[in-house]
């Protein structure tokens, strides 16, 4: 049975917290971009070494047209909330800074289901598919990912490209026993992704 692990890293002065529907950029190698408690949300972590710049995006929902009416409070600018708008905007901002796609290292973290089969699990998968669709549209391939599953994740990223991902598994076992097809699909998916999960510690 999975056990919860301590996931707190001490914050430093100058660290920037990235919340849901937000994106931050940093050129300061002494400070980190941090986002915590990723479940169905997905974080896109980007390192542009030639610019000594890091970016951390955290989006919550896949598409504007389907999901904008679901927001409890209308946002003044919810471009970062949806994969459909956030991902193109992120790479447009990086291009405006002078980055080319081939110079970027891009990682995706999150998109997990909650401990029970509820709307969170549906959104996690939808977010993951939307992420892949819009990254493909931008002409970007991932260098690493840690997505899916049923755990909560937190990310620390600095402008030097050091990235830490910590997971906190749910104490409850999965509600549905994996079927043969789910196991086959998951093992095949891991085998075919061929990209190591991003657990790089500085």
């Amino acid at each position: 049975m999975p056990t919860a692990i301590q996931e707190q890293e001490p914050e430093s002065e100058g660290d920037i917290i990235v919340g849901p529907g937000d994106c931050r950029f940093s050129t300061d190698q002494s400070c980190r971009l941090i986002t915590r408690g990723l479940q169905s949300c997905i974080a896109i972590a980007v390192h542009a070494p030639k610019l000594a710049t890091a970016a951390l995006l955290r989006f919550s929902l896949p598409g504007v047209s389907l999901h904008a009416p679901l927001l409890a409070v209308p946002q003044r600018d919810d471009s970062w909330m949806f994969a459909e708008t956030a991902i193109p905007l992120l790479f447009a901002r990086l291009r405006a800074m002078g980055a080319a796609n081939q110079d970027l290292s891009v990682y995706a973290i999150g998109g997990s289901a909650g401990p029970k089969a509820d709307s969170t699990s549906v959104t996690g998968k939808s977010n993951e598919l939307a992420m892949r669709r819009f990254l493909w549209r931008e002409g970007v391939l991932l260098n690493g990912e840690d997505t899916g599953g049923m755990c909560s994740r937190s990310v620390w990223l600095d402008a030097a490209g050091r990235i830490i991902v910590r997971t906190q598994s749910s104490a409850a076992p999965p509600a549905v026993h994996p079927s043969r097809f789910t196991e086959a699909y998951q093992s095949e998916r891991k085998a075919t992704i061929g990209i190591q999960p991003c657990h790089f510690a500085s």
Binding site: W136, L141, L142, G194
Partner: protein, 130 residues
Amino acid sequence: MSLRLLIVDDSPVMRLAIQRTIQISGLPVESCMTAEHGNAALSAVRDNQIDFMLIDLNMPEMSGGELIRRIKQRPERPQIPFIVISADATATRMQEMFDLGALAYIPKPFSPGTLRYEMIKALERVNARN
């Protein structure tokens, strides 16, 4: 080493998708030709210096397997490295293609990341041989 690639697939959209993946993958590719059937591929191999091929199996008139056998029969440069990409993921077909010298066998459907990963691994093996 800058590669001259040949993509052989009768599906126009699959050729486009593979080309796009190659273009954004960061692989050292000098040129990327395409052929929609086996005879076009044979002509491309005859008329151009091809360093690497990605081959579909189920094509009209000449299957990918037959194409590979014909290329191997050429006295000049019979050993062009290749990867197979196919919707046929049976063990029988995979073994047949590995016996013919395939560096990798990518079952469809595949993600762009998978194609890039398999290309990188295959090129490492080619470079190690050379």
